[in-house]
């Protein structure tokens, strides 16, 4: 069945710099924003943009992620003939291996894309927090009669050397891709979001797969090869909130950003909802001893202590005379009485005994607390 556009969502990242958070969890499955997983933002973008054929490429610790996505109901991606499909690396009789690079991941799922015979393929990754209309990008791609379109965001000039920079003409036509340039010629950074004409991309993937010296990466190999052949490549400017949550610090910051009022990312935006599995837990209960300020708290929680500048997931209990500040509490965390928790990320199901003090202000990054940490305390 022919589809206009197939979305390919790369969700296999290990997210090593997230330390404990990704020890048993793929990065896109890490809880975020009091109710969500990181991947919910991209999946919701697909659904809100009318892209209902989405392949999710998983490999690292896929269990939680697969379970979270399920049949795709929250995103209206539970469909008979398309919807969301989990694409794990295939194990042939002779064995299987992980995807070797972003381009290899798509290459090895050509058969999946081919069955929809699409005009375009949208390649995105499940690692970023942003709200974007991919359909507007595809329309831009069509208007420019482009072979490939890359979404870019303006970054401060001094940070440009940390990014993959796209050098464009005034009409946004790309003439050069500069990976982490020492002396950037532009401050338009690639967001790792691509729209390709499927027929063109398909050829380049086959060619790239045959090259033994290739890293099979879009940025390093496929895009340069297309530029080299003088294909039409255009940049698409995105304005708005966009954050890579690659480190503990940036993960914590991106969560705290949700407490800001003025950012264009908003969980309360009715026309661009971010969807997630809903837990059906009862309304939260803020009791007579509680004090809550500048925080997000999810359902099923019962607060008897003080919570400030924090993000609390579902079914949190904060005991009497406890103080939680600048912290992120993952689902089902129980904080006893008389605790002091500052600048910490507490992992799922951790039970914090009465009187515990956790202070993350002395470290360069917020501290991440798991059950092992608590066990070793007592």
């Amino acid at each position: 069945m022919k589809k206009r556009c197939v979305g390919m969502l790369l969700a296999g990242g290990e997210g090593k710099r997230l330390g404990l958070l990704t020890k048993n969890l793929a990065k896109p499955a890490v809880p975020f924003g009091g109710k969500y997983r990181i991947i919910d933002f991209t999946l919701s973008n697909c659904s809100n943009s009318g892209i209902y054929t989405v392949g999710v490429l998983t490999q690292y610790s896929p269990l939680e992620l697969n379970k979270h996505i399920g049949i795709g109901k929250p995103w209206d991606l539970d469909r008979q003939s398309d919807g969301v499909t989990i694409l794990s690396p295939y194990t042939a009789k002779e064995g299987g291996s992980w995807y070797q690079g972003t381009a290899d991941a798509i290459y090895r799922n050509i058969h999946y894309i081919d069955q929809y015979d699409p005009e375009y393929v949208l390649v995105i990754s499940g690692d970023h927090i942003y709200q974007m209309d991919y359909d507007a990008m595809i329309r831009h791609h069509e208007e420019k009669a482009s072979d490939a379109t890359i979404s870019v965001i303006e970054v401060p000039w001094e940070e440009a050397p940390r990014f993959g920079i796209l050098n464009t003409k005034d009409n946004l036509e790309i003439y050069e891709f500069d990976e982490k340039p020492a002396e950037p010629k532009s401050n338009l950074a690639s967001m790792g979001i691509y729209v390709f004409n499927w027929r063109t991309l398909r050829e380049y993937l086959l060619e790239d797969a045959a090259k033994s010296d290739s890293d099979h990466d879009f940025g390093k190999d496929v895009i340069p090869a297309m530029l080299n052949d003088e294909k039409r490549l255009y940049a698409y400017r995105y304005e708005g909130y966009w954050k890579d949550v690659g480190t503990i610090q940036s993960y914590w910051e991106a969560n705290m950003d949700l407490l800001e009022e003025d950012l264009s990312v908003s969980l309360n935006n009715k026309s661009w909802r971010t969807y997630s599995q809903d837990t059906n837990f009862p309304p939260q209960f803020i009791d007579s001893a509680a004090e809550v300020e500048n925080s997000l708290i999810n359902s099923g929680s019962w607060i008897s202590g003080t919570v400030k500048n924090s993000i609390l997931f579902e079914c949190i209990h904060v005991g009497r005379s406890s103080h939680v500040n600048e912290s992120i509490l993952h689902p089902h965390v129980k904080v006893g009485s008389g605790c002091e928790i500052t600048r910490a990320i507490i992992m799922e199901n951790v039970v914090i005994p009465d009187g515990t003090v956790i202070d993350g202000t002395t470290e360069p990054e917020p501290v991440v607390i798991d059950s092992a940490y608590i066990a070793q305390l007592t």
Binding site: K35, T279, P282, P283, F285, I286, V292, I297
Partner: protein, 368 residues
């Protein structure tokens, strides 16, 4: 098969909630921050392994239909079985049935096509969070025609007045159904009945021009039926008046009640709405309150129940109130003992105060 099918019979439930039931039936009335009354009955049926539920409804059923949608949120969007809202739409000129018998008569198909041999029948005003597996085992074990679900109450409350009382013999056998107000054993209007018995009694009722299946079909035939009872001793309550509706909402602010209704058993299912977590801003001051997701709080809230998406602006004070979904309470408003139906906006600076016996109720979509 020894399984149950479900029936929620709303025919004889009146629109007891005044302004709150002008545009919806009582079963669709919001309750406890994110639910509608019917959610408790529906969830209990699903927890009892029931895979097909019919709802007999005679009017104001649109909000009910909007709420339950395809039934997916109760895992009842099934190809086989599922959820059927059955409004009256009958065109048989030869039909002589009356009252709720018209529903039974015109929906006979529903009973016939199911493989279940027993029917769990319920209204929407008995609120509990439980599976009825044990009641069903008792029903099967005693080979009863009818098993009434009862509760024991220590204190007679106004909402108990209209409930039938059950006199029990050995092993729960029902000796009499009375209006004896001193008897604390209340019939919950929830019962299990053998399907073949149900169909036989329906025919009999229609033949004799009866109009109330339970009163005329079951109660009047007690002597010929093997009728037993099973007592539910978990947390429960009845809602059948504005006063009991208000009181029980506020009562859930007792931590013990909250805990027993919501955490003693699996969660209660309701329509999923994808609201974000509650946002407490820097000026928020919240105490003794239930809040559903999507709320944004700048003001002060005490001893209240806030449904989804309620906005309480800076300087506003909300006390002892029930605020339904998507209400907006502007700067400097003061509310006490108030019930706001959904989509109400209270503009800046106003004060409304009711009493706990007679809360001040505002109908939906009003802007004041």
């Amino acid at each position: 098969m020894n399984t149950m099918m479900g029936l929620i019979n709303l025919e004889h439930e009146h629109d007891f909630l005044e302004e709150l039931t002008y545009f919806r039936c009582g079963a669709a009335a919001p309750f406890a921050g994110r639910y509608r009354l019917i959610d408790f009955t529906l969830s209990n049926m699903v927890k009892s392994g029931i895979e097909e539920v019919a709802v007999f409804t005679n009017h104001k059923y649109r909000s009910l239909m909007d709420h339950v949608g395809t039934g997916a949120d109760w895992e009842l969007a099934r190809r086989h079985g599922g959820l059927f809202i059955l409004p009256p739409d009958w065109n048989d000129p030869t039909d002589i049935s009356r009252g709720d018998l018209r529903h039974f008569h015109n929906n006979r198909d529903y009973f016939h096509r199911s493989k279940a041999d027993h029917v769990l029948i319920s209204g929407s005003q008995f609120i509990a969070n439980t599976s009825l597996d044990e009641a069903f085992s008792h029903h099967l074990h005693t080979d009863a025609d009818v098993t009434l679900i009862t509760v024991e109450v220590d204190e007679q409350l106004p909402e108990h007045m209209s409930q039938l009382r059950v006199e029990k013999g050995e092993d729960g056998k029902v000796l009499a159904l009375t209006n004896d107000q001193t008897n604390g054993t209340l019939f919950t209007n929830v019962y299990i009945i053998k399907k073949e018995v149900l169909l036989r009694l329906v025919d009999q009722c229609i033949a004799f021009h009866k109009d109330h299946f339970f009163f005329h079909g079951v109660k009047e035939n007690m002597d010929d039926l093997h009728m037993t009872s099973w007592n539910y001793d978990g947390f429960s309550l009845f809602v059948n008046s504005v006063e009991s509706f208000y009181r029980h909402n506020i009562n859930l602010l007792d931590p013990d009640a909250y805990q027993r209704l919501f955490f003693d058993n699996e969660y209660v299912r309701t329509k999923i709405s994808n609201e974000p977590p509650v946002k407490y801003r820097t000026t928020a001051d919240v105490k003794d309150t239930l809040l559903a997701n999507g709320c944004v709080i700048d003001g002060s809230v005490e001893n209240s129940v806030l449904f989804r998406g309620v906005k309480v602006k800076k300087g506003a004070v909300v006390k002892n109130s029930i605020i339904m979904q998507r209400c907006t309470i502007e700067d400097g408003v003061h509310l006490e003992n108030v019930v706001l139906d959904k989509d109400v906006s209270i503009s800046g600076g106003q004060t409304f105060i009711g009493s706990s016996e007679k809360p001040f109720v505002v109908a939906k979509r009003k802007t004041i």
